[in-house]
Symmetry: C2
Subunit: 333 residues, 2 copies
């Protein structure tokens, strides 16, 4: 699964220029999140690890970068009627917050089974909530109805050039904060974050290895890469509520060409990584956010000789919106 | 309780010079911890808050700064036989880690009722543990016995110039990271941290207000300030296991002269602040570490007109070593 470096970035929905523009656009609003390190985790992983703490981003997750870029890209006529999305939570909260900052309405379709803290975030930021059934079809149908009723603009959570560009700003910051990184590990779901991260990182340093981390119970990216085409699953089953979406037509070409490999981990490994984040790093990371650490510690990574050259690994801790009860109850006590 | 600014720093156990020396001494080993902000917490507090995240310090608490300074201040002859301390946990872990970095033994007396995660930290860093009864007398007696048996050097947790100087490096960093801070709120127990923080901050900017945050059930500093002399309590009772010690003869004069006021909060307020740190800031803060936020949100602070001019408040989140079960079980579910 070698990436195809001959591909021109012209054919993608974003590129290093749109990512640099996004960085300027969101700079007044977004946090520059810190990078933490831990000798204890380095010794467990046998590598030097750098943690980009997007759990400290506005709204508690990286999603604010893309949402902010998308909303502040709209011209005034488009923006007036507001924005719509359907999301399991973090994109919804991020879009609500960005809309509030621009002073426009945000209509948010949320599946009924989303974590309570994520719904609370949406409401805190003034988003107007419409609950759907958990299925993707119900989410899409409900969003379409809201679109018709309001005339607002749809802002997808991943499959969108503005979103990809916003998420790509993570790489610009991260590689400035820790320039010796040779490998980046990024959670994959709809592919918006890893697409932006890969586009920016490979533009800055083509030798950087980009690895996706994906839960076993929602491994559509792994299957898509294996099959050479977008492969959707009939059902998903993972504790990582933020990683249940599938690649789209805009993110897939970037993932196909620029993501070097997909590391698949099970929920037990994700929970163990959450626990290490809490106990060692002292930060609240949601299951989706901890998957990068889970990937580095997995046998699939540790025992694969291909990765023996990965000595300085950047891990994106993508979000921290986890109900404490979920965290506590998922631990082996 | 106006501080006496006419006091010369000559009479204290540390000063801005010894603190700057400490900064150079510990720089190769200590983390420069990030400062986080939160619009949500700002709006709850009605002020701009800056959180100095010492929970991300090596060993999970600010204590590493002082321990590292003390251990690397020893000459080789002194250092060879190792170091001894008695501590409820964070100083013990910090001293073990600093001793490990210097390659000398650390003998640690820990009261039986210390949190498990703190004992685990000591062992992780190679400290040799001796359990005592919870009482201060038993801690001191056990430490004296170990001193006799080993010939090692006693490194107190607070009442020591090297420790005060090391903790003072917090101010040097904090005021560089957030120079507009007009008020610093610091947990108080033995007084080592607040002494160092106050000495450095007032040297840099004499107008900075220094407030101590103290638990109701261990309010010896409040009583000492009121009485104008060191006042010890016959018993203490608070969830903040790191704040149960009393001021000593070296920290008291600094607290007396340079700490503008002591804000006392109860355990319920501490728990609520821990919850906000977890849910909003996404960080694991132990009860002692959350007390600064509890103080800012307390009626004692919010309703006191004296504090209406405190607009840019720096809060030291002093440590993150909390058993997750303790956190979860202490919440109002």
């Amino acid at each position: 699964m070698e990436p195809n470096h001959t591909k021109s970035s012209d054919c993608y929905a974003a590129d290093i220029s749109s990512i640099r523009e996004a960085q300027i656009r969101i700079k007044p609003f977004a946090q520059q999140t810190p990078v933490l390190t831990s000798d204890t985790l380095d010794s467990i992983a046998g590598r030097k690890l750098y943690f980009k703490c997007e759990c400290f981003q506005k709204g508690g997750a990286f999603k604010f970068r893309g949402a902010c870029n998308a909303i502040f890209s709209l011209d005034d006529d488009q923006a007036t009627k507001g924005v719509v999305t359907h999301s399991s939570g973090n994109h919804a909260a991020a879009l609500s917050l960005a809309a509030k900052l621009r002073g426009i309405p945000a209509y948010i379709v949320i599946p009924k089974d989303a974590p309570k803290c994520k719904v609370a975030n949406v409401k805190r930021y003034g988003g107007q909530v419409f609950f759907s059934e958990p299925s993707m079809q119900s989410r899409v149908d409900t969003a379409n109805k809201v679109l018709q009723d309001t005339g607002a603009v749809l802002i997808p959570s991943s499959n969108d050039g503005r979103i990809i560009s916003g998420q790509g700003t993570i790489s610009l910051e991260f590689l400035e904060q820790a320039s010796y990184i040779d490998t980046l590990i990024v959670p994959i779901s709809g592919g918006g974050m890893i697409s932006g991260v890969a586009l920016a990182a490979k533009a800055i340093n083509p030798a950087i290895r980009i690895l996706a981390a994906e839960p076993m119970g929602a491994n559509d990216a792994f299957q898509s890469k294996s099959n050479g085409r977008i492969t959707k699953l009939s059902e998903v089953n993972t504790i990582a509520d933020g990683l249940r979406a599938f690649l789209g037509d805009l993110t897939w070409p970037i993932v196909r060409d620029l993501v070097d490999d997909v590391i698949v981990v099970d929920d037990k490994e994700i929970i163990q990584a959450m626990k290490l984040c809490y106990e060692i790093l002292k930060i609240a990371v949601e299951p989706s956010g901890a998957i990068g650490l889970a990937a580095v510690l997995s046998d699939g990574f540790q025992k694969n000789p291909v990765y023996s050259e990965c000595n300085h690994i950047g891990i994106v801790l993508s979000g921290g919106n986890v109900d404490l009860g979920v965290l506590w109850n998922s631990f082996d006590k």
